[in-house]
Symmetry: C2
Subunit: 499 residues, 2 copies
């Protein structure tokens, strides 16, 4: 174990030293995607971040059981009120498919994007439909404990009764009175004793496709229930870390706490971690603003608001440049800068692997100290609530030194062998193991070649333009377009992207 | 719809014309892997074959719902007797992991191999643990119908009682009397009324980790039950095609039939398809003979009995060269021959895409007929119980013609334009869409583009040479060499390859 890892706990609203319940084991649960549409970039950021948490905990020597679920039922259109149509069943109805075909299709797509982003698969990836029996059992326990009531075939959680004994709203900072005043009156609300109550089991209407038998008739579990069931089934009644996007704090995570306390008799989670949202040029990503693009569109540059494609590793680097509790703002400028930064880092890593240390000179103590300090800072900063932005800055400081060693501005022998070894170990550990950045250029042989060939081709075109040989210049642009490659000319020169 | 597809139905032991119940819909269920160890090559062959079935049915215009399950519980060590320890729970105990971690790990590995083999993911990939509730319900139905009995907390299927009314052994050709005589006496057999009975619900012993509540106490479903539940849930009580390896005919598929007939009241499947086994140099693949290698070992050549690595597409081609009802025998000679054959086919496909038809000559009727006949034969042979071996032979006949057109031995204009179009369409459809062979040499997205870009670049160089602009010509050659690409000049023009 290196330093002392501190995590900002959303529950206590302060940074706390991370002390697992049962070291060296760590249990971590992250709310996964609802698979009724393509994975969106906010999800990607969240899962990429928890991938770094997973990687860093493993790097520290912990044995981590990382559970990330797939929500394949029970996510209603109007979350807050717990009403509306099941999102997956609705998509199935619209596309005339079996709901599980929708689920399979988008789950495959989600896993594909996760692979592209180089995230490590979780230890267990359980599904909501895979745990119906356990969910029915928990509903029964909540009823038995007096916090659940049946109404017209559905079971609701009695929030007011719960709040008499336990704090409700502690995680999200919501005040029950405000919630009651702000509750909208919606169809089916009449079934609830109080508008703030939430469904833990919903009666299936006759046209509802996804349905299971239960002691209360045919229905399906409420969305919040699955996470309580799956997290505690695989990680124990109280576990170390629970994560998700900030938008899940309320009602989802608040309800999870209530369900665990009421039905299992335990506060479920020690450290709650929430990631912040994405914006595009300062605005919320939304379809109506036309600034919403999907991962594959971002990678290919196939959206009007994108000037080019940004590779999965560029996007990963881009996310890492912000602290997870800050918003991340997409812009072409920021993404281009990230692309450069990512390539600089990969270049430094490649140069580092080629350096051969020979112990011949006098050690420059100041330089030696600088490198050791930057190595220490990598740990110090990631230990400070996973500050990947600062860790990247440390890695860039090390990159500058590596470049200087490589082009002989600095003699490599002016640092001690121990320091050189530490530089190699730390740099590699952070770039590859912890931050999960891989070299795309050497990833598949031909991509690197493609870049080289295109550079050559664009150079020939540049010369043709310099010679006012517009025929050749246009021919190259036009034929590339025919192949499916777009050449863009700008003041800085020409670039290309896949159409 | 092209011709008339005939399928050898294991149940009737004859080839039958394929008539789906509810065209254009086709339901197909294939028994998937038990995920307690790495996918083995026998599985790969089976799933690769059903991938061809899936692809061909889609090519014919059917809307196929293809369900392939993941067995993540209930597969006991001694299948025949239905006794022993659950394979996944045992592995978990040995590796000190949560069973679902084992499941996740080997499921990920299985999916990876399936991607390498270029199989299309099934429409739905349901898990046994995801359908416990439905399995409990089916057990209850079987009990209610009088064909299931409880014994010491487990539920058994009463085979003798079933056989009084329905045929048992029809699929596998087993005779009940022989089965009774051959039954071994094993621990726990005492619970059964008769040794031929099989468990549909097993009581969990105290140390058993994977367990669920049921009306009969804590336990887990019998292995055969999951497939009955999942196939009928997603495909209906009677569906078109059920497939699997030949080793599953008995007891697994025989028991599925009995469960459906007894519990649901329907014969479940119209066409049963079973794939044959693998051998290595004429012997059964087995660990004790030291001739057992895993897919990744075969691809990498990292096993003593392999002289080299054979790429996933070579292996796919190799499997396709045998009819699915024949055994496939691995040997280095046969695999090397497959590698050559695969490359020949890919080469022909590449040449075909470069042929430009111009309608200038007189049609050579005999040649024209030969090509049309070979195109027809592709359909004729795959329609004949998926005879991929014969279809490959047809594609090779077409390849010979393509080669002759390409090197001008035969003038392309000696066939009609309609025939040329048919050649292109049929060749591409069978190689790529139906047999699922892809060009590994140009595997990455950029590789298709790479060909185009290199064509353009070599054209520019050709022009430069024509203009005696040796500086540009040499520059292109030299810079490509620096990138790692070799340009070769010959009488026919220039070509390139990776250094």
């Amino acid at each position: 174990m290196k330093g002392e890892l501190k995590i900002y706990n959303s529950l206590t609203r302060q940074k706390e030293v991370f002390v697992p319940q049962n070291p060296p084991h760590v249990g971590m649960y992250v709310c996964g995607p609802t698979v009724y549409s393509d994975a969106h970039l906010g999800n990607c950021r969240t899962f990429m971040f928890f991938d770094v948490v997973y990687r860093y905990l493993k790097h520290l020597g912990y044995k981590v059981r990382y559970v990330r679920n797939i929500t394949d039922v029970g996510h209603l259109e109007d979350e807050l009120a717990g009403e509306g149509e099941d999102k997956i069943a609705k998509k199935a109805r619209l596309e005339q498919l079996e709901p599980m075909e929708i689920v399979q299709n988008y789950t495959n797509g989600f896993r594909h994007v996760m692979r592209q982003m180089n995230t490590i698969p979780p230890s267990i990836e359980p599904t909501a439909t895979g745990h119906i029996l356990e969910q029915i059992e928990l509903v029964q326990k909540i009823i038995d404990a007096g916090y659940g009531y049946e109404s017209n075939g559905s079971i609701y959680f009695d929030v007011l009764k719960y709040a008499e004994k336990y704090p409700y709203g502690e995680l999200s900072g919501k005040v029950l009175e405000d919630l009651q005043n702000n509750s909208r009156e919606l169809s089916g609300q009449g079934e609830k004793r109080n508008p703030v109550d939430f469904s833990i089991w919903k009666k299936a209407s006759p046209e509802h496709i996804m349905r299971w038998n239960s002691p209360w008739g045919e229905g399906f579990p409420g969305w919040h229930l699955e996470c309580t069931v799956m997290s505690t089934k695989y990680l124990g009644e109280t576990f170390d870390i629970h994560g998700g996007g900030m938008d899940l704090q309320f009602p989802h995570h608040e309800c999870e706490i209530a369900q665990s306390v009421a039905g299992i008799g335990c506060v479920p989670v020690k450290y709650w971690i929430h990631t912040n949202m994405l914006t595009v040029e300062g605005k919320k990503m939304s379809k109506s603003l036309g600034n919403s693009f999907l991962p594959h569109e971002l990678f290919a540059g196939s959206h009007p608001s994108l000037e080019q494609g940004y590779s999965p590793m560029t996007v990963r680097f881009f996310f890492l440049q912000a602290h997870y509790r800050s918003t991340v703002d997409f812009s072409n400028e920021a993404l281009k800068a990230a692309e450069k930064g990512y390539k600089r880092l990969m270049n430094a890593q490649s140069l580092l692997s080629k350096l051969n240390y020979t112990n011949v000179g006098t050690v420059d103590v100041e330089l030696d100290n600088q490198i050791n300090e930057a190595c220490e800072n990598c740990y110090k900063h990631i230990d400070d609530d996973f500050n990947t932005a600062m860790t990247l800055a440390d890695l860039f400081e090390l990159s500058n030194k590596i470049n200087a060693f490589s082009n002989k501005q600095l003699p490599l022998a002016s640092i001690s062998e121990a320091t050189f070894n530490r530089l190699q170990t730390t740099f590699h550990a952070f770039v590859t193991d912890v931050l999960g950045l891989k070299d795309e250029a050497s990833d598949n042989s031909n991509d690197g070649l493609m870049d080289g060939v295109m550079d050559l081709l664009l150079n020939i075109r540049k010369e043709a333009r310099a010679n006012k040989d517009w025929a050749t210049s246009d021919k190259i642009r036009d034929e590339l377009k025919e192949i499916g490659l777009l050449v863009k000319d700008s003041k800085e020169g020409s670039s290309w992207s896949v159409l």
